[in-house]
Symmetry: C2
Subunit: 771 residues, 2 copies
């Protein structure tokens, strides 16, 4: 996503490591300059909320930027989008605002804080944080915070605070608020740009005793409703309301050794996606809400998530925790409460890319849901169905046919990429969406979805490509000119292999879908064909294009080319181009220069082969890997995982593990130097793919589940679940043996393990083999 | 200059016409919303100063943006340049600030002002303005202002104010200041961007009784010195100084019918380009300065300018005035006081493009100076010589050899184009500079310049191209990949004909220069060759490249192609693409989409043919014109004039005149809708070229001056001067006859008129022929 470069801060950070155990990620060091980056790292969420790991008791200006985001909730942006003005993910009311005084002294963290920790418990989706504060008169107080966003009822979030007087009696004043005094971060506030004030998207506030309503500056004038139930054993509780916040404060003396606990449960609704938000809030305020009970249900919900989503590995506790961290965020971010939304590049963990959805949604994150939570996967696809009209408008406005799904879409499916940075060229996103439809269908067998929604997506995307190709008289072939493939360092190319192959695949998939549906649901299909004016001619045209498209390939070398002029570019010395860990474009040569050179920002041909593994020979894959790997600078977070998947499939264990480490630890080590602006969700999905498609070697073709595992030496065993065509199968792999167990009794599953076919049924649900 | 698009305001303006007579451009209508655009239109200057037509007595905020610019005086810009931070032309101290009170009422212009006029007298380079003001108690006062920037002593400027009580006695308070309370305009202050406050570049001020010193925020911490001599017959003059301004006020009663006149002379020096500015200012303050005397010398200097620069036409008074207006600004803007500077795209008339210099400097404006003022032309080239080191650094930083003159340079020759909008590709500027060196040499015969400076420019630019070409095994030819030609609507192309032809010309010119100098100055050349390590091999390489470069040409159609893939792009219906007068990219389809289509922003192949007219046949020119003209949308101000020149050379009278009108009236009619941000100097030069190269048919080849005139029907006669190889010749053309007169007695001039050769000498200085 090339234009990110304008958001990158020039913060110098060395790779750093924290502590990981099987289910926790913990940091024991408070460093002010890394705080905001770790705010991102310790985000929790439930698909409705994304809540960064900001500090409840902050009182600095910066903390108005804390970062609580809600799926699909945006404010008015700053630049012209391709329809109307851009939008941006909106930092909403701070539901966890706390103000603590010890002997009237404002408690806030400083470098002197002792025993600092911040930790996310992956199993239960809880974030906790604490430290020992020393007052000016040398009294020590221990403070800790716990929070969660309920996975059971996604409108709820909980907070617990503990305060303990360690050395002396101390007078504590504790305030807990819903605070609407928040702003977005201004993207240009990073060096070297002049600092700009943050943008405030709240244009109206209604503040009451225990709830607030804010109105945003977006086109829908969205109203957000928040309410809270506060629990405390105190007696001097006082309601407080000002122009921005509501809540209560209480004053009490904590005796030496004494501990006080406060809890609260917050509830949120919005006018954009929720029904009757006002009534919902009223009901919540009237209900009997208990923190511990909500916590229990939340934890239970997380357990169910992990039952199917976890990948257990033994042999390396770090890798285990960090792999789970990657999966954890995919679970945290998925908007399962609606089918109107999908997942942004940075999820709900930061403001970069304005919360928008890109191609990596379908290609990187989506497979995780398809193979572990098909209902969620279906909802994510429904977002593309709901925005099909916008994609058709986009095609028309750009003088094309069919549906031109934009590169970077807001919640309404409208192109948000600023003009003239390449969105127009990045058309592979369109076939990527079609690919996801096909993948969903292959893995789930959900005909009903395809008939009702998927076929229309396949049709309109195929139509787009049929109109986007040109016939080149010289080459005697169809060509696709002026595109940008996954390698974004090639500004504009002709006949990008990935793009052309996927475009043809898109048209083939549409035709195949019609044929399949024709057989199974002839009446429904006929109705569809009539409704959408699908002509015989256009279907023939798809076939003709598929047969005669130019795919750049050097026959004698069995080498697929990224694009038809790749070999005409100058080779580049990677040591000269990228002397440090920083991106090429941030160190040696500007983005626009890279057109001159054979340099790939990320996997491109290799990625194409990962997507369609059964279309290419192992030799072609090896040749491509060896050709492109040294030419790839991995300046995109989308690169490591795809090279890793390919390395695994080529049985290159050392390389695979090297890439696994790079991908899995990407945010934890802040490898891209921009975790501060949000976590890298494509890479989370990619890391999962590396484990799932790479190490476990899972793929599918023609109704058969393939498993070709290849564990790294440092792992002894790996366990995971596959949900395939209504079956749920547990896979357990070690270097010695492989075990499969079908979990549903009515199931029937064809598997191909290491090249041999098996069938699992309710009667014979288990196979085990030595390897 | 593609990235201008971000600066364009969406102000809806209809084409509008003002009054022109032979020597004046006058506007008799005050319209608030057009004021700032007319501020630009009524700019005056002397190459040291550029002073927009802002109102002296303004008191609104906006008037802090008035607009007085000084050549090469810049402040710190807002974005990263390719070395350091960008710079921008700095709005300096308002030397003409006036505050007028009538019966204590602030006089400022409103829509109710009567008899408004603003006028520039082209002959004397003076701007005058006036109106009748009516006080709240219905008294009428006539006010007028006159100003000039001295063409005699470029450090001086003069101001005259007249106030007349028309109907009643009135108490007047008149203040005249040097006011440092000024800011730059913020580029993003146009819709739809949020309004930003203007940037103030003054970081320090010293205000004294009659002079001020300001320090700027540029890297040089430039100090600007201003002083004034005030004349007045009043007796109640009072010196006034505050934190921003100094000057004097006086109060007096004007009786009905009485008129009072104030004059002042201002002087300016700066620490960046002037010697001993402080002493100069002191000397000025101690001198006996008289407004009328300075005005006399100024007017005399303008007369000398016009003697050689004027093009007289009879038959159409509008065209006469407007053609002069175009020439006038070329005279106003040329920094003849130094050889360290050149001319920005908007001269000193607005802040767009930050005052930077582009290719159009050499290709559009430079010819005017070569043919009318060779000393000035030499100085403009010296700017490129002084920035040769910066161009060599730029090449190195971009992994190239030789000198890579940047696309958009600040006064120090550093690339100022924001990253990633194509500066890296726009390499034709490099050969354009070499072309200007050759043109200067051809027209002046100034061997000394070439030996001392020009040869080095030719060498290093040739070296750049020798390293920039690639050998294409498939095409069996040298190619230049990833460039942007003059047609900026084609984002990136390979083998742009203009670029390749000019690159080869660059290398040929270098080789030819060495051969010529070898013969005439063998010793000096040998020294040069040794000093710069010019090898035989590299000179041979230039020749080889020249012989084997790919120039896209369709032989059977005799058609030169803009680039090697031009015909692969889709044809476009211009009515669909550009349904209104607005630019395509502002109405129908974004800039990045245009790569898909056969659409040219401006002359490209046609322009190449204009630059090297003797290299192409008339048939090839006609074919190119007819092919590209309907595909050209003229969204650049650089287009009309070149199509006009070609139309003239093809004897297409109607088309030529149509293009002449479009070019000549471009700013006066605000055709590009951005005159507000500064006048279009390339178009001024282009308009002159249309008259000079087009109508008069002047060109040169091999020491011979060619004249092939072709007047439009509406013009009866055209007179102009050519300075060629030390000779000054007056040309007088009508449709009936042509007359040439050599003005220098020692001269000797070979001319070719309508295909026949003549020789003019001191003995036979005149020829006249019927046509």
């Amino acid at each position: 996503m090339y234009y990110e470069l304008k958001f990158t801060c020039n913060i110098k950070r060395k790779g750093e490591r924290m502590k990981y155990t099987g289910w926790t990620i913990c940091n024991n060091e408070y460093e002010a300059e890394k705080k905001r980056s770790r705010d991102a790292l310790f985000t929790i969420g439930n698909g409705y909320f994304g809540i960064r790991g900001f500090f409840e008791e902050d009182t600095e200006d910066v903390d108005r930027l804390g970062g609580i985001y809600m799926a699909g909730i945006v404010g008015r942006g700053t630049y012209p989008a391709w329809e109307g003005t851009s939008r941006e993910l909106c930092n909403v009311t701070n539901i966890f605002r706390v103000k603590l005084l010890a002997d009237k002294e404002n408690i806030r963290i400083t470098d002197k804080a002792e025993d600092f920790y911040q930790m996310v418990d992956l199993k239960s989706g809880m974030y906790s944080r604490g430290y020992v504060y020393t007052t000016n008169s040398h009294k020590k107080i221990k403070i800790s915070f716990v929070r969660f966003a309920s996975m059971h009822n996604r409108h709820l979030a909980g907070q617990k605070i503990e305060i303990e007087a360690l050395t002396d009696n101390v007078e504590i004043q504790a305030g807990r608020f819903l605070d609407t005094n928040v702003t977005n971060l201004n993207k240009e506030s990073c060096e070297p740009y002049p600092i700009q004030p943050g943008r405030n998207h709240i244009i109206e506030r209604e503040i009451s005793g225990n709830h607030v309503v804010t109105t945003l500056d977006d086109v829908d004038k969205t109203r957000l409703y928040f309410a809270q139930h506060l629990e405390s054993c105190g007696e001097n509780r006082k309601q407080v309301t000002d122009e921005f916040a509501c809540g209560e404060t209480e004053i009490f003396v904590l005796e030496k050794g004494e501990k006080r606990i406060f809890t609260k449960v917050v509830c949120a609704y919005n006018s954009k996606y929720d029904k009757e938000p006002e009534q919902q809030i009223k009901a919540f305020l009237n209900a009997d809400i208990c923190y511990e009970e909500e916590l229990r249900k939340h934890t239970e919900a997380w357990k169910e998530k992990w039952d199917v989503s976890d990948i257990t590995i033994s042999g390396n506790e770090d890798d285990q925790a960090v792999l789970r961290y990657n999966i954890f965020h995919l679970l945290c971010v998925c908007p399962e409460h609606t089918d109107k939304l999908s997942i942004g590049a940075r999820g709900l963990t930061g403001e970069m890319y304005e919360g928008c959805v890109f191609w990596d949604n379908e290609i990187f994150k989506f497979p995780f849901f398809v193979y572990t939570n098909p209902e969620a996967a279906r909802k994510l696809l429904m977002f593309r169905y709901h925005t099909l009209e916008a994609a058709k408008r986009h095609a028309k406005r750009n003088w094309f046919e069919g549906a031109m799904y934009p590169w970077q879409v807001c919640e309404k499916g409208i192109e948000q990429t600023p003009y003239n940075v390449g969105a127009y060229y990045s058309i592979h996103v369109i076939s990527d969406i079609a690919h996801a439809v096909q993948q969903y269908w292959n893995v789930t067998g959900d005909d009903e979805f395809v008939l009702k929604y998927g076929a229309e997506i396949l049709l309109e995307t195929a139509r787009f490509f049929a109109g986007r190709v040109d016939y080149d008289e010289e080459a005697k072939a169809y060509v696709i000119r002026a595109v940008r493939g996954p390698n974004e360092y090639d500004v504009i190319v002709n006949n990008n292999a990935y793009t052309n192959v996927m475009a043809v695949e898109n048209m083939k998939t549409a035709e195949k879908a019609f044929r399949t549906l024709e057989e199974k649901y002839p009446e429904e299909l006929e109705k569809f064909i009539n409704e959408h004016n699908v002509t015989k001619e256009e279907r023939q045209k798809w076939e003709e294009i598929g047969k005669n498209i130019l795919i750049p390939y050097v026959k004698k070398d069995k080498l697929y080319l990224e694009d038809d002029a790749y070999l005409k570019r100058r080779p580049v010395d990677m040591k000269k181009a990228k002397p440090t860990g920083k991106r090429i474009i941030d160190t040696t040569i500007p983005y626009e220069a890279l057109m001159m050179y054979q340099v790939s920002k990320q996997a491109d041909v290799v990625h194409m082969m990962n997507l369609l593994p059964h279309m290419f020979t192992d030799e072609e894959k090896r040749i491509a890997y060896e050709f492109y790997e040294p030419k790839t600078c991995h300046d995109s977070s989308l690169s490591y995982s795809q090279y890793g998947v390919m390395a695994a499939n080529l049985n290159n264990e050392e390389e695979t593990y090297r890439y696994f480490r790079k991908a899995a630890y990407l945010d934890i080590d802040d490898r891209q130097l921009n975790t501060i602006s949000g976590l890298h969700f494509a890479n989370f999905g990619g890391t999962w793919q590396l484990a799932y498609f790479g190490y476990a070697g899972i793929s599918e073709d023609n109704n058969v589940l393939y498993i070709n595992p290849n564990l790294p030496k440092v792992w002894n065993e790996m366990k995971l679940t596959v949900v395939f065509r209504g079956n749920r199968v547990k896979v357990c792999v070690s270097d010695k043996k492989l075990q499969l167990e079908l979990q549903n009794k009515q199931g029937e599953l064809f598997v191909n393990v290491d090249g041999r076919e098996y069938k699992l049924t309710g009667e014979e649900p288990r196979i085990q083999m030595d390897r």
